[in-house]
Structure formats: C-alpha cells, structure tokens
C-alpha cells in the first residue's frame, strides 16, 4: 500500500512551488519599483525550472529531447532580443517613448 504514496521528490517540489507562490505574492505588495517585475519573473523562472526538472524530468531524457526543449528557449531568446533592438532603440514613433519606472 505504501508504494502508492508519491515519492519524496514530488512532494517536496510541490511544497516548494507553493512556497515560491507565497513569496511572489507577498513581494508584489512591497514597493520596489522595477525590482517588483524582476522579482516576479525571477521567481517564475525558478518555479518553471522546478517543474521542468522534477515534474517533467527533462534531465533524465536523451540528448536529442533536451536539444528540442532548448530550441524552444533559444528561438524565444531570438524573438525577444531582435524585437528589443527595434523597440528599445526607437527615438520617435507613434508609441510613446518608453518611460522607465524608477
């Protein structure tokens, strides 16, 4: 019967995910300017890494599977970085100039 129980690694991952959710929710109410966004996205990245490694077990798969997964992030990085070369260097445009949050 005990063998039906979830392995410790899955339980700990779940608890860690809920803990990180509490952290991101709490931090969002602390005024930190741009660091609110940085904290939110950093915590999301940590949560995503936990899900990918411990729930989806990506690191236990064969190299070609990991290459396929990495390709998604690789092209996402291209999408954002090449778009940024445009939007972050615009001097005049119909879109109001980016006013940085302090």
């Amino acid at each position: 019967m005990r063998e039906y129980l979830p392995p410790r690694s899955l339980v700990l991952t779940w608890i860690a995910l809920l803990g990180l959710l509490t952290a991101t929710l709490t931090l969002a109410y602390v005024p930190m300017g741009i660091y609110n966004l940085i904290a939110g996205l950093s915590i999301s990245t940590i949560k995503a890494a936990l899900v990918v490694v411990l729930f989806m077990k990506l690191l236990d798969t064969s190299p070609i599977v990991r290459v396929a997964a990495a390709a998604g992030l690789f092209w996402l990085a291209f999408l954002f970085s090449l778009a940024a070369t445009d939007y972050m260097t615009r001097v005049d445009s119909h879109i109001p100039i980016v006013e940085r949050e302090r």
Binding site: T24, P31, N36, F55, P96, E101
Partner: protein
C-alpha cells in the same frame, strides 16, 4: 496479456518511447513561441504604458488568480504522481490520479468563468463593453485585450488538457497500460505541465502588476 513489442520502424520499446517524447518536446517548443509572441506584445506595451498597465493590474481578481495558481500547481503534482505510478504499472491508481487532475482543471475553468463574469460586470471587456474614464483608460483597455487573449488561449489549452487527461484516465482504468508501455500517460503529463508553466509566467504579469503602487 499480450507481449509488448515496438512498431516495426523502431528497434526497441525504449527507442519508440524516446521518439515519442522527442515529438512532444518539439511540439512544446512551438508552443513556447506561440505564447512568446503574445508575451512579446505584452512586454512592448507594458514598456510603453507602465502606469496604464499598473492601473489595469489593480483591477484583476487577485484572489481567484492566486487560488487558480495553487490549483494548477497542485494538478501538476497529481499528474506527476500519476506518471510515477504508471512507471510501476498500477493502472487503477493512475486512473484515480488522472481523474483528480482533470477535476482540478475543471475547477480552474469554473473559477476563470466567475472571473470573466466579474470583469464583464465591471465593463472591462474590450470590444464588447469596455468603459473607463481617466488618463489611462486606453492603456487599460490594451492590457485587457492582451489579458483576454492570453488567458483565453491558455484556457483553451486547459480544456484540451482536461479532455486528454480524462481519456487517459478511462484507458488506464480499463488496463490499457503496463509498466512497459505507458507513453501516452507520460506525454499527456508533459502537455499538462506545459499548461502549468505558461500559467506560472502569466500569474505575475497579469495579477501582480501594479500591486505595490
């Protein structure tokens, strides 16, 4: 119980399972870019209208959003547990956990519906009834356009996930899988986790923006 043998184009069951996982991850990579395009639009407009987005974020339903995050994280745990039992060949246990996972998905959609209803009531639906006075009205409308687009497409993924998980639950209950063959359970798990991953990023971008202001 019949002998499990790979399809003729594969050398072994391991290779067959590996190719299936490869296909799923390639699909998920395309999904990353599908959601990535919308997230890029969000980034550009949030950069252009930081105050409008902060104002809009304060109108989102933080309690429902947070409860739904807990539900999706927990459903990822239950389906990971289901895959673990599938590895050991316990069909009934797998079926029960998949059923629980699908149920979590339904609760998520139900709460999302309540949320949409409240937003409709508050005239926050662009193109249908959006109404907001003040200097940031236009930017708030832009946020809600992206909000309905992102959560709508995500909700569609949850719906597809529920159907997949429910079908797998029935198949597992009927004994379609063994410890030597449970690839469909594994792949359904990957898809469900991906839906959770998207939500993990949507949560701070939708619900937490502007909370400290």
């Amino acid at each position: 119980m019949h002998e499990v043998a790979p399809e003729e184009q594969f050398a072994s069951m391991e290779q067959q399972a590996d190719v299936a996982a490869f296909g799923m991850w390639v699909f998920l990579a395309t999904e990353v870019l599908f959601f990535g395009g919308m997230l890029l639009a969000y980034a550009v407009y949030r950069g252009s209208f930081p105050e409008g987005f902060a104002e809009a974020g304060r109108h989102t339903k933080i309690v429902i959003g947070t409860v739904n995050t807990v539900i999706l994280l927990t459903s990822s745990f239950t389906i990971a547990w289901a895959v673990h039992l599938a590895e050991k060949g316990w069909g009934r246990g797998v079926a029960v956990l998949l059923g629980v996972t699908a149920l979590f998905g339904l609760v998520f959609l139900g709460l999302k519906g309540v949320e949409y209803y409240q937003e409709w009531d508050e005239h926050l639906v662009p193109g249908l009834n959006f109404q907001m006075e003040g200097p940031h009205g236009q930017a708030v409308q832009l946020f809600y356009f992206l909000y309905f687009m992102l959560t709508g497409v995500h909700g569609l993924h949850v719906t597809i996930g529920i159907v997949l998980v429910a079908v797998m639950a029935v198949r597992a209950w009927k004994g379609a899988f063994t410890k030597d063959y449970y690839t469909p359970i594994e792949l359904t798990g990957l898809y469900w986790h991906f839906v959770d991953l998207v939500w993990i990023f949507l949560y701070p971008l939708i619900y937490l923006v502007g909370r400290s202001g």
